[in-house]
């Protein structure tokens, strides 16, 4: 069946709402407007305003309300328009959602799912373009997912809802129009493992989310050059499935990490560190990273493009680790 990433997400929500009456969606403009990225379009008509719940502009209150409802037997899906606005709810996400289970000595799990858009590339300037999923991946108690394919857009939500603990799902804004074929019976997927999206033997390119397509494009470019790159899609940013990328590095002996987050103190740093800790003697070259330039994302197209990882910069980094300099 032909579908898009957006439709796959919608189908996942619809499916979950049908499977479990405790599930409901709440957030800014998820109802009448249809979702700021049109993900929930049509769901209000199908499920009504109790379960497709428009909220006021109160990120902290409606995320906190999602936590409270989850504590009290419901299975809320909270949509935050973008990760940039999630900062207004950071208190609830970190100090409550991620913390209550531990602080209560195991008494209060928070089975909450929060979806939000992340990433740059649409000339929306700094306050709408940041990639902060790496920050969230820093926090014990959260599971952080980044669907990069139609299968994952369709399949990650249900297992996330079944998880007894809070799960954050990051949808890159550049992916909503991604289209392609999805099996008619596509359903829940594993949310614990990274996936090898392209097999190769010369270098391991490790990425996730909105950078996956760029990395695959870079791999095609490298192939034309005789470099056979393996591409790993992390899928789950916390807890990280290190085994998959470490095993890959053990046979390619080279690694490039591609991350739309900033470089300093980042997810890419974590991955590079794990490779250094666990597979140092397997490496034939230092690990390289391709990250977003350390600036607030600028508006002008050429500046925004220059700030972000691109197929050319990814391929250049890979050539460097394969051929040296």
């Amino acid at each position: 069946m032909k579908t898009t990433y957006r439709e796959a997400l919608r189908e996942a929500i619809r499916d979950a709402m049908r499977r479990d009456e405790r599930v409901f969606l709440m957030g800014e403009d998820v109802g009448s407007y249809g979702g700021c990225y049109a993900v929930s379009l049509g769901l209000l008509e199908e499920f009504g305003p109790e379960r497709i719940r428009d909220t006021p502009l109160s990120e902290s209150a409606f995320v906190g309300a999602g936590i409270g409802a989850a504590l009290n037997g419901m299975r809320p899906i909270v949509e935050i328009m973008t990760v940039n606005f999630s900062l207004l709810a950071l208190d609830q996400i970190l100090n409550n959602a991620a913390t209550l289970l531990h602080m209560s000595g195991g008494q209060f799990p928070v089975p909450l799912v929060i979806r939000m858009t992340t990433g740059a590339g649409r000339q929306l300037a700094a306050q709408h373009s940041h990639s902060l999923e790496g920050w969230y991946a820093h926090i014990p108690g959260l599971r952080v997912l980044a669907p990069a394919t139609l299968e994952d857009a369709r399949g990650m939500l249900w297992p996330a809802l079944c998880d007894p603990d809070p799960v954050l799902i990051f949808e890159h804004n550049g992916l909503y129009n991604l289209s392609g074929d999805l099996a008619d019976d596509a359903g829940p997927v594993d949310i614990t493992r990274a996936a090898i999206r392209r097999q190769g033997k010369d270098v391991t390119l490790i990425t996730y989310g909105g950078s996956l397509a760029k990395t695959l494009a870079a791999a095609d470019d490298l192939a034309a050059d005789g470099i056979d790159a393996e591409v790993i899609d992390l899928r789950t940013l916390r807890p990280l499935d290190s085994d998959t990328f470490l095993e890959s590095v053990r046979h390619t002996h080279r690694a490039v990490v591609v991350d739309e987050g900033w470089r300093t103190g980042s997810l890419s740093a974590e991955i590079a560190a794990r490779i250094a800790e666990e597979a140092f003697y397997e490496l034939d070259a230092p690990v390289r990273r391709v990250c977003t330039a350390e600036v607030p994302i600028p508006y002008a197209k050429h500046l925004e493009e220059a700030a972000l990882p691109q197929p050319a910069s990814i391929a250049a980094a890979a050539r460097e680790v394969v051929r040296g300099g």
């Binding site: 902290s60 209150a61 906190g64 309300a65 409270g68 009290n72 602080m103 209560s104 195991g106 209060f108």
Partner: protein
């Protein structure tokens, strides 16, 4: 009389428990932050006396009174102070983070204002299931300056959710006096501006608090939407054990101590309630506290290899 005695017993339990906590703190058996509720007992006891077991309670870091009034066993609260595995949060929370799922006590929250949105969500779940429950959410007047207060009140009123907001106005947020916190001093008026019923109550009078809580919970259970009570009270002791109380005059405290809610209730119970009755009550409470302390001292600690337990749920996925 029986009802009065129950209220008196609960307030006395809290008062004496905290007196003992202060001693244990000085003896370094309790550590961390310790925020005492001394002087404010009528608020927790009056409100909680109107709740059903299926209702829920959300509290702050000043949570001993709410927890004990709610029925969280004193042994488990004291053990938590001692950081023992038998504590009501298995030693993960300490004084500020008492939890008890069995009593639907959703925790002491140490982020000022952080519990309000959670209370709204607990109430949302009740409302979506059509259950006539009340979520009592305690917070200080300082929290009324936080954004989460405003967001939560608006959301609760907008969706007519069964939340009883209990604003404990003890006139200070740490060392910042009420006059330095709020441009408009009428908190009930502020709350009403969000479209919910709100009024001020003498928080030093447990009978008045109970009466107000009864009226509020009846209205909430009947589907009338959230209410806010501004409970005018005072903490007799410092903000926490670290607080040298430089910001207020002793005479202010002395004046408020004249309005001690426990003395006031005893006065109202005279002459039926005799000195002998009082001695009997104090003896009973002291025995409970002695037991809690002895049990906490004797209790086991969590083995260190359990350090990272409860970060995520212990279930097979």
């Amino acid at each position: 009389m029986k009802e009065h005695l129950d209220l008196l017993r609960e307030m006395t339990r809290i008062r004496r428990f905290e007196d003992r906590c202060a001693e244990l703190y000085s003896a370094a058996q309790i550590r961390g932050f310790l925020h005492l509720y001394v002087g404010e007992e009528a608020v927790a006891v009056g409100v909680v006396s109107e709740l059903d077991p299926q209702d829920a309670v959300v509290s702050t870091y000043r949570d001993h009174g709410h927890a004990l009034a709610r029925g969280v066993p004193m042994d488990a609260v004291m053990a938590e102070m001692f950081g023992k595995v038998t504590g009501c949060s298995r030693g993960r929370g300490g004084s500020m983070h008492l939890f008890d799922s069995g009593h639907r006590f959703f925790g002491g929250n140490a982020i000022v204002g952080g519990g309000l949105p959670v209370a709204v969500g607990l109430a949302l779940a009740h409302a979506m299931r059509g259950e006539p429950r009340v979520v009592a959410c305690f917070f200080g007047e300082g929290a009324a300056a936080e954004g989460e207060f405003h967001e939560a009140l608006n959301l609760a009123a907008l969706w007519r959710l069964p939340v009883l907001f209990c604003c404990e106005n003890n006139l200070y947020a740490m060392g910042t006096s009420f006059a330095k916190e709020h441009a408009a001093p009428d908190l009930a008026l502020r709350a009403s501006s969000y479209g919910l019923a709100a009024w001020a109550v003498d928080g030093m009078d447990v009978l008045a608090v109970r009466e107000a809580a009864r009226r509020a919970t009846e209205s909430i259970r009947a589907g009338g939407g959230p209410c806010l009570l501004e409970l005018r009270t005072f903490r007799f002791r410092a903000h926490s054990m670290y607080d040298p109380e430089r910001y207020r005059d002793k005479s202010e405290v002395v004046q408020w101590r004249d309005r001690d809610p426990i003395d006031r209730l005893i006065a109202a119970m005279r002459p039926d309630f005799t000195d002998d009755d009082l001695t009997a009550l104090e003896t009973e409470v002291a025995a409970e506290i002695d037991h809690a302390v002895a049990a906490a001292e004797a209790a086991e600690i969590e083995p260190v290899d359990g350090l990272t337990r409860f970060v995520t749920s212990e279930v097979t996925r």
